[in-house]
Amino acid sequence: MVRDKKLLTDELAEAIGGAAEPLSASARADIRERVMHEVSATSRGGIFALASHRLAIAGTALAVGFGGVAYAAERSLPGDPLYGVKIAAENAVVAVLPPGRLENRVLVSIAARRAGETARLAREGSGADTIDEALGSLRDAVREAAPDEGPLTTDDASRIRQRGADAPAETRDAIDEAVTSPGPAEGSGSGGGAGGTPNPDTGGSPQSSPKGTPNAGTEDSTGTDDPDLPIQEQIREGQSVSPGGTEPLEDDGSLDMDRVREMDDGSRAK
């Protein structure tokens, strides 16, 4: 009898469930844009990114003389004063990306950045703790970049690894390991609570600023061994400062916003 009830409930679920009024893809995207515009402006990263961007714009003229705040930020490493600008800029971009291929590519590029930062820290002789933290950020970023259904594709994994290829052997191995087995997603066990962003779990102690940075990992990975480009400018002005190319993301992890828009339009058109 209980079974009958269950059967009836299933049938009911099917009959009524199928009657939910669908939200059209275009309305869905429009609402998302409306919501996320507000959300990213008031998010943890957004406020910072906006402020820093204003700074970057105001400083554009001065940038020539001073070398560019944004440019410096893009090259910053964990612990550098401008490191937060770099991460906030990444967050601002990622926040407004619709799910899908474009988002995946951006996330993979961000993970590659983290690998590059880790390698650079190691090359510059940073301490073990700093490198561990950077590895933790890399794991976070790898988990973020992995699709819901499973691990990274081989191509994506090798692309991330490649950015850490010039690290000293020991760190390179650790980077490979982090990319291959980033560890349990949220496991970071401890701290649930009001929780901060779960951090690296694995060996890693929770970062100094656990709640901090959304998505791409802790705010404590930085730097790039490449001449990264002022990401804020690209985000806000929609200009690509990066050399051409067919990918939305340059090898150094910077974003070509023209390309991003193109891909975004393309995926919406579907």
Partner: protein, 185 residues
Amino acid sequence: MTERRLARTVRRACNRDARAFGRLYDEYADRVYAFVRSRTDSAQDAEDITATVFLKAWEAIGNYDDRGLPFAAWLFRIARNAVVDEYRRKAHRPVPVDEPIETGEVAESTDVAVIARADAERVRAVVRMLTEEQASVIAMRFWWDMSIKDTAEALNKNENAIKALQHRAVRTLARLLQEGEDDGA
């Protein structure tokens, strides 16, 4: 989205992580819209209210405690309140109140059969005629896939009350659909 991933995403959104919140939007937009649309007259209104729901959720998510109300129940409450606010604002439609409806234990299989053979558009039209609580239960149970327990938490009722509400909602739904059939609709 798996439960683990959802929990992680919610935690991040609580920390004002915009991307995580975007994920939640992607996960729940359809459900919020389906419910809101069932309580509004036009698709445009429903879209506006859906946007409002997520903006309100973003405003409040910093105070959300994942050890309390399940996230879906929490979000549903916001959606429900937004709908009620809209009713009040427009004041062109009274806020439906629960009216006593016969609760006799009539064969549910008959009801299910009536509902199953109705087309989606007709079912939606009839859901709009349900009381606010009944429609909420229908939305949560069948469109949001929420358990009786979570539904009870969202509506601040006990589980038996939800079962009774669901029963009444389904009965009413079937009765109205049947009447439509009889009228040749």
